[in-house]
């Protein structure tokens, strides 16, 4: 499944350019023009990464950055600006932005930054998953047994424990279901 990117920029040409460039790289892209729209889309979809312009009317990029971060702390956000200032870049990173890109950027630049950010995100996710698995391994199931049959059961339990699926356990009565 391809990663979902949300582009927020008040300039329609920039939205169109970024959508085209990123769709060509295989991402799923939604582009919106202001913070309100961005928040609406964000709540209704699972967004993996946000490209966010800093200078926007009404709610500006830095503010939206904080709002989005409040909603999901591990969200990856890349800030874009046509008016680079040291203070805003520092503020953006402090507020939790992953990267800060100045316009005009080349599409290679933006693609590279997006790819790097998503790789980082996936590494984090995997790391989290592996840690959890390891933890589960250590204080494994409170069942003791060596027989191939019970080992198979342990493996089955391990593979289904993280899912929300309902599991049906079958067996004769008195076998210890």
């Amino acid at each position: 499944m391809s990663d979902k990117i949300l582009v927020v920029d008040d300039d329609p040409l920039i939205r169109k350019m970024l959508s085209t460039a990123l769709k060509k790289s295989g991402y799923e892209v939604t582009a919106v023009e202001d913070a309100e729209e961005a928040l609406r889309i964000f709540s209704a979809n699972s967004i993996d990464l946000v490209l966010l312009d800093i200078v926007m009317p009404k709610i500006d990029g830095l503010e939206l950055l904080s709002l989005l971060k409040k909603k999901r702390e591990d969200l990856i956000i890349i800030m874009m600006t046509g008016y680079p200032k040291i203070e805003t870049s520092v503020q953006a990173i402090k507020n939790g932005a992953y990267d800060y890109i100045t316009k005009p950027f080349s599409i290679d630049e933006i693609r590279f930054s997006v790819r790097k950010a998503l790789e980082y995100k996936n590494t984090l996710k995997e790391n989290f998953k592996l840690k959890k698995e390891l933890k589960n391994k250590n204080n494994s199931v409170e069942l003791i047994g060596d027989s191939p049959k019970i080992q198979e059961i342990f493996r089955t339990v391990e593979s289904v424990r993280d899912t929300d699926c309902t599991v049906l356990i079958e067996g004769e009565s008195g076998t210890g279901k």
Partner: protein, 347 residues
């Protein structure tokens, strides 16, 4: 009534230059300040001589002579003149006799070099402030469309083959955008030379830094740098990065002006109690007099199109000004230019 010796003493007490001529340009009187300025031992050496002969060593009165105008019009005339490295402001007053004809001309002049310089600095700084604000606005508004042009042309490039007839044109667009991007960046640099990061640094560190950044260009032209630091140079409170940038821009300018295998002289000295002075002297082509007042203006360049943005010296100027320093230039066509920077020790 004052007696003649008292009157002469009074005139000599005045530190502005006073010269009295008859209507035929003969010197009737000159005060001490006048004699001192033109290196005349005493007034006796010039009384009775024609003013233009005594002062300019000429046998006819000067073009635009204010005395001539006053004689003709009977009015007070004011002019500014450069003489002996100073700027003088002249007033010529007609003195009438009883028959209503002009008998004498009193020429009063004051050295206004310092005021003039401060005035120019003020104008320059006001000008750069205005241009800075404009530049920031323009730069900001340009970055968005530039970003779109760059992105779309790169996408276009991706979608056509190298053999396509239009491939070259797309590349040209991309290159032009890159050029514009550089220019806008320069504008932004110019508009906000806000000094944020100040600390005490030794001037030699700044100079060495700037030189090391221009090594490549120096090598290309086989130029030699002659460095000299005065004794007891105090550390100065500056923004290191910005100051290096200012020095670098001036060095780059000197390099471009210098002939191959020439030398650039850099001197750092104490300048009174309050300042450290750094001079950059080249023996290059020099700056024509009519350009001197413009070289710190953004976009002023004498380099060929595409060679320079005309922002280097204006950026240097604004960096030095921001740090309460001063920058000035002296130049002689064909002989070279000297840029002098004064930086306050305490900021």
């Amino acid at each position: 009534m004052l007696q003649r010796p008292q009157l002469i003493a009074a005139f000599n007490g005045i530190t502005d230059l006073i010269l009295i001529l008859d209507s035929d340009y003969n010197i009737v009187f000159a005060n001490k300040a006048f004699c001192d300025f033109f290196d005349f031992e005493n007034v006796g050496k010039i009384i009775g001589r024609k003013c233009y002969e005594a002062i300019q060593n000429d046998n006819e009165y000067c073009i635009d002579c204010p005395t001539e105008k006053t004689l003709e019009s009977g009015k007070v005339i004011t002019v500014e003149k450069s003489l002996r490295g100073e700027i003088l402001k002249y007033w010529t007053y007609p003195v009438y006799n009883g028959k209503n004809t002009i008998e004498n001309i009193v020429s009063f002049s004051r050295i206004i070099t310092r005021q003039k310089r401060i005035e120019q600095e003020l104008i320059q700084s006001e000008k750069s402030k205005g241009i800075g604000q404009l530049a920031a606005g323009v730069a900001h508004e340009l970055n968005n469309p530039l970003c779109a042009i760059l992105g779309f042309s790169e996408l276009l490039k991706e979608s056509i083959k190298e053999t396509d007839a239009n491939y070259g044109m797309v590349n040209d667009i991309i290159e032009s955008v890159q050029q514009s991007k550089k220019l806008v960046q320069g504008l932004l640099d110019y508009s906000r030379q806000s000094v944020t990061n100040t600390d005490y640094y030794s001037i030699s560190d700044v100079v060495i830094h700037a030189i090391s950044m221009s090594k490549y260009k120096l090598r290309m032209k086989k130029l030699n740098i002659d460095l000299h630091y005065g004794n007891d140079l105090p550390k100065v409170k500056i923004d290191m990065q910005k100051t290096v940038q200012a020095f670098l821009n001036i060095i780059m300018n000197s390099i471009d002006a210098s002939p191959k295998e020439g030398s650039i002289f850099i001197r750092a000295d104490r300048h009174g109690e309050e300042y450290v002075s750094i001079t950059f002297c080249d023996n290059g082509c020099g700056i024509p007099q009519e350009n001197i007042s413009q070289i710190f203006n953004p976009f002023f360049t004498t380099k060929e199109v595409g060679q320079g943005t005309g922002l280097g010296l204006s950026i240097a100027h604004s960096i030095i000004e921001q740090q309460n320093g001063k920058i000035r230039v002296e130049s002689e066509l064909g002989k070279g230019s000297t840029f002098e920077i004064l930086l306050p020790v305490e900021n």
